[in-house]
């Protein structure tokens, strides 16, 4: 603590240069924070995926449907504990820009399959009792100010409208929350039996099946058995772990993680050069001052640590400041809920960012600190004089 004024003196020696270096690091880490939140948002399905869940979809593509009758055949395969299905409904609420995922499901089986969607018992019962009942996630309910009892009209470009109706109508019977941070609470689920009865085409067809397996270690074998069961049929399947399915879904718009790492890597390399140059310049300018400190009795390792601390202080102040502002902005709300249902800065990004800031400080200060440590006092004083 007693060396803090000395550290501070080094930082404020050239205020403009310190401020510009601070700003460049600040902006870089703010970017890092936003990219961390974006990566989390795009990978939310992957990180939340159940280890014991498989997805069975049409072998050709996700938009091809499968017969609902497959459910019983999948259930009969040894090692399968439970099965339910979902179908992409693509319902539009008032305007296409009000996008949120919506799907018909089998309420009881669905809630048992996805315990991460937390619904109170009264709402569960109401859903089972209400044919047009739907449950909606907290994020979407808040977004449109929906509450239980509201009737929600949706138009579906895929499924048309029920006979005698101008659009699909659902009664909200429950609002679910996520069991943990990162659970997608933007989705809207309604009853499959109502959907099946009311739709005009592809009756008896569903989008995909979710399968719970008894032993996650046997995932590959069971997936192979499921696909084998339907091989050479008009509706061949592709079965994969839920995480891989979600990843494949996210990668439809590119390998975001790789792109992100490339951007972050380029930014940080540049910042490292800027900060390293700043520190080197600062040490060069202070040759005589460092010589004086040594003459007064500061040992070589102390001078090394002082220079390193100074470098780390700029990096940590800039880094943590940037991350902090990113966290504040991200926490204040999701700017694009229709595109990114989950949007938050995860703790591991904050911790990783802080560690990266410290590493940046150490890397940028290492060479100047080494030079300062090896400085000969008589040479330093002569150069300063």
């Amino acid at each position: 603590m007693k060396f803090l004024p000395l550290l501070w003196a080094g930082l404020k020696r050239k205020k403009l240069r310190t401020a510009l270096t601070f700003l460049s690091i600040f902006v870089a880490f703010m970017l890092f924070g936003f990219l961390g939140a974006l990566k989390e948002a795009l990978g939310a399905g992957v990180s939340m995926a159940g280890q014991d869940r498989l997805i069975v979809r049409h072998k050709v593509s996700l938009i091809q449907t499968l017969p609902e009758s497959y459910l019983a055949r999948i259930e009969a395969i040894p090692g399968v504990a439970a099965v339910c299905h979902q179908t992409w409904f693509s319902g539009i609420y008032q305007d296409p820009k009000n996008f949120f995922p919506n799907m018909p499901v089998m309420p009881g089986e669905f809630l048992a399959m996805f315990p991460e969607f937390v619904l109170d018992d009264a709402a569960k019962q109401a859903w089972l009792n209400t044919r047009t009942g739907a449950i909606v996630g907290r994020a979407t309910a808040n977004r449109f100010h929906w509450k239980i009892g509201d009737r929600i009209p949706l138009r579906s470009p895929i499924w048309g409208v029920p006979v005698g109706q101008a659009q699909w109508e659902f009664d909200i019977v429950g609002i679910y929350d996520g069991a943990k941070k990162g659970t997608d609470t933007s989705q809207f689920f309604f009853r499959y039996d109502y959907f099946e009865e009311a739709r005009q085409l592809l009756k008896g067809q569903v989008g995909w099946f979710t399968v719970r397996i008894a032993n996650p270690d046997q995932a590959a074998q069971i997936a192979a058995k499921i696909d084998g069961e339907f091989a050479n049929s008009p509706y061949e399947t592709k079965t994969e772990p839920e995480g891989a399915f979600a990843q494949g879904f996210a990668q439809q718009i590119g390998d975001i993680a790789t792109i992100m790492m490339a951007v972050v890597g380029a930014v940080f390399f540049t910042i490292l050069l800027v900060a390293g140059n700043t520190m080197a310049q600062s040490v060069r300018e202070r040759t005589a001052e460092l010589g004086v400190l040594k003459a007064l009795g500061f040992s070589n390792p102390m001078v090394l640590v002082l220079v390193l601390l100074e470098s780390c202080a700029i990096a940590m102040l800039g880094g943590c400041g940037g991350l902090g502002l990113a966290w504040l902005i991200i926490s204040s709300g999701n700017p694009v809920p229709s595109l990114l249902p989950v949007f938050y800065l995860p703790a591991n990004s904050l911790l990783g960012g802080s560690a990266l800031a410290a590493a940046l400080g150490l890397a940028a200060g290492a060479l100047p600190a080494w030079q300062a440590m090896r400085l000969r006092i008589s040479d330093a004083l002569r150069r300063g004089g």
Partner: protein, 232 residues
Amino acid sequence: MNPSPQPLVNISRVSKTFRRSAEEIPVLSELGLAVMDGEFLALMGPSGSGKSTLLNLIGGLDRPDTGSVQIGDDRVDQLNDRQLAAWRARHIGFVFQFYNLLPALTAERNVELPLLLTGLNKAERRQHVQAALEAVGLANRSKHFPRTLSGGEQQRVGIARAIVTDPTVLLCDEPTGDLDRKAGDEILSLLQTLNKEHGKTIIMVTHDPHASARASRIVYLDKGRLSDQPSA
């Protein structure tokens, strides 16, 4: 019969040669010097005569090639880097020609620097700093930054920094070299006071006969050798 007093600074057969590329430049050759406790010694000589090199050897900033440098009970030439740093902090006060204050620190923070290496707490450090600044007549300028002080005042802060740990020896390298006559005289008077009233042992390198006249003894260094008379 009392035994004769031992010198505080005892330099014996010290040689120092600098090497630049393949060239060897001998600076000090088999040099001997003894300075008694409480003495105010002026070290004079032409540029390049090795005055500053000798001062650096006494202050543990450099090591001799051969010979011994003993200050009190310590063989300075035999200490390693870490021991030397700690020894300097305890025993040596440096006063530089160009003051060498840290521009971003106030006068009192500059004076406090050597105390950061001691075990004193904040209140004790403040007390020592105040006493040192009072001793140089700058107690009322403690919050000022170096750029707002005159050259003479900056050198006083430099002297306060040098004496704040109550070192064994004060080493002054041209302390008036960057000052006008009036400010220089004030600094020399201050050094004399520290020597006479506080018993500080002072070794001062200077070109200026006016400055050396304030010392209790003058030695001359030329071509690496010491004498009591200036060379012709």
